[in-house]
């Protein structure tokens, strides 16, 4: 059983909304902070739309949806977070923005409240440095879409006190997910493995090993993957992948993380994958 009862989520974007849903579904009250009322309303509308989909598919009752939404409290004032046991930061992937926000949060919440970041590309250890008492900081890396993905990486920062990862793991299990405790290394565990593989595929596709469709078909049928690598890239977003792999490259200078030239060019051309209909496997803007 987890000792974490009162949760705050910072940022009501895609990841934030997904995390809010997962936490609220576990019966906990969730306070969600965003910068202004419009963004908070938009996040709540996104969450409601997602839940309505669940109601239509019979996964959730209308009463269940309403109860879940009742537990969600959008706020724009940092002071509203004062009573939280756990703060999950899920704002834009910029170190300066996150560091500034975490420092301000640390000044408001209780001294023993846990502060975690959902970053996928930045160093948790580095972000922990912005908080006066960094022993209570760790990473809690949900995968997108958070309500559907079973695994959550619990990232131990260099400063994380003993016991923090265990408390977070118990919390993750309470959410019905599988915690995997990992080191604070670029890409943690999953992206550390995934980024070089995806880069390798992009480079070989650019070198005309096979068509995008045939590469995906080979990996799906040959290895039983749910998605081929290029359709996965379109789903992740080419801009998101480019940012993640560039960050890992900057942190390691390991060439396996270097963004392949075709990826850079597709991002420069504004091809972001499924979200704007231009990617490797989309009808419009097929790379070759």
């Amino acid at each position: 059983m987890s000792d974490i009862h009162n949760v705050a989520v910072l940022g009501f974007g895609t990841m934030g909304a997904g995390i809010v849903q997962v936490v609220a579904a576990s019966g906990r009250p969730v306070t969600v902070l965003d910068t202004d009322q419009d963004r908070a309303d938009a996040g709540l509308a996104r969450l409601r739309a997602f839940l309505d989909g669940g109601v239509r598919r019979g996964k959730l009752t209308e009463a269940g949806r309403d109860e879940l939404l009742d537990r969600v409290r959008p706020v724009t004032d940092l002071a509203a977070l004062a009573s939280c046991d756990l703060v999950i930061e899920a704002v834009t992937e910029r170190a300066d923005v996150k560091r500034d926000l975490l420092a301000r949060v640390a000044a408001v919440v209780a001294g023993d409240a846990l502060i975690v970041t959902n970053t996928s590309a930045l160093s948790v250890t580095d972000l922990a440095g912005s908080v006066p008492n960094p022993g209570r900081v760790a990473g809690l890396h949900f995968f997108n879409p958070a309500p559907l993905m079973k695994v959550v990486e619990v990232v131990r920062a260099l400063q994380s006190e003993p016991g923090v990862a265990e408390r977070l793991s118990a919390f993750v299990e309470d959410l019905g997910k599988d915690p995997v405790v990992v080191k604070d290394r670029p890409g943690f565990l999953v992206n550390h493995l995934l980024l070089p593989y995806l880069n390798d595929v992009i480079a070989e596709y650019d070198a005309e090993l096979a068509s995008a469709e045939d590469i995906d078909t080979a990996m799906r049928l040959g290895l039983g993957y749910k998605l081929g690598p290029l359709e996965l890239l379109d789903l992740i977003g080419l801009d998101v992948h480019e940012h993640a792999t560039r960050s890992a490259y900057d942190a390691t200078l390991d060439p396996r993380f270097a963004p392949p030239p075709l990826l850079r060019q597709m991002v420069a051309a504004g091809y972001h994958g499924d979200k704007n209909g231009q990617g490797f496997r989309t009808e419009k803007g097929n790379a070759q």
Binding site: M149, V190, P196, L209, A218, M219, L221, K226, R256
Partner: protein
Amino acid sequence: MTSHDRTVAVLGAGTMGSGIATVAVRAGYRTLIHDLDDERVARGVQTVRGFLAKSAKLGKLTEDEAAAASARIEGTTALTDLAGAGVVIEAIFENLDAKRELFRELDGIVGKDTLFHTNTSTLSVTGIAAGSSLPERVVGTHYCNPAPLMKLVEVAGGRHTASWAHRATLEFLASVGKTTVVTKDRPGFIVNRFLIPWENSCIQALENGLGTKESIDAAVTGALGHPMGPFKLLDVVGMDIHQQVATRLYEQLRDPKFFPPPMVDRMVSAGDLGRKTGRGFYTYDDNRLFGS
């Protein structure tokens, strides 16, 4: 179709050869399976018939269909018996000289329009094709193991492969119910080209303490939706096989990401090859594969 078109010859009665022969007889082709001695041939024929009998028991085929397919398989140790084959599929051990020599001998036995397929996984199709005086008829067709169950075949022409041979190969593979992808004659084709560095990097992550075998398997299956984590998969594939394939790709590509990490050598030295020896990354109470 002529009887010539309806006859398939499979060279090599091992796991891949008998699996491919099963695919051919199931699709209605009279199929000859060839190996060097009677014992191996008999074992290959038995493997084909055993698979078909089990398919009937599981209701995947009717008894009549299984019996008819079983009747279409025939074994031989004489290459001259393959004279009437429309398609010859080579599935012997991974040795370039042996494969070349086989195609050279077959040149004098089969018709000029007989297709030569090689199921090589790590050698160059062009290199193997050079054994035949008609390299334009040689095409790489890489099946996945177990061939009767896996839909995918990677198709790769060599430098001299003719377009008619490529086209006829795709038609043949469609006629036996396979899904084809077209790739180039490059080491590892598509699947092994990406799988080997992936497995190597997972092994390195384990050696570097980024996770345990259990946590890495759990993270990969949970976050990426793979049916098996990297270490469960390596135990099924066999560490000796992974070592061989990785080493061959490295020798051709000279890129360190293909080179098997030291842990692979240690596990092979210790005899911890995976499920087939009862111990690999995990230990097993039995050594059954694919629930057989």
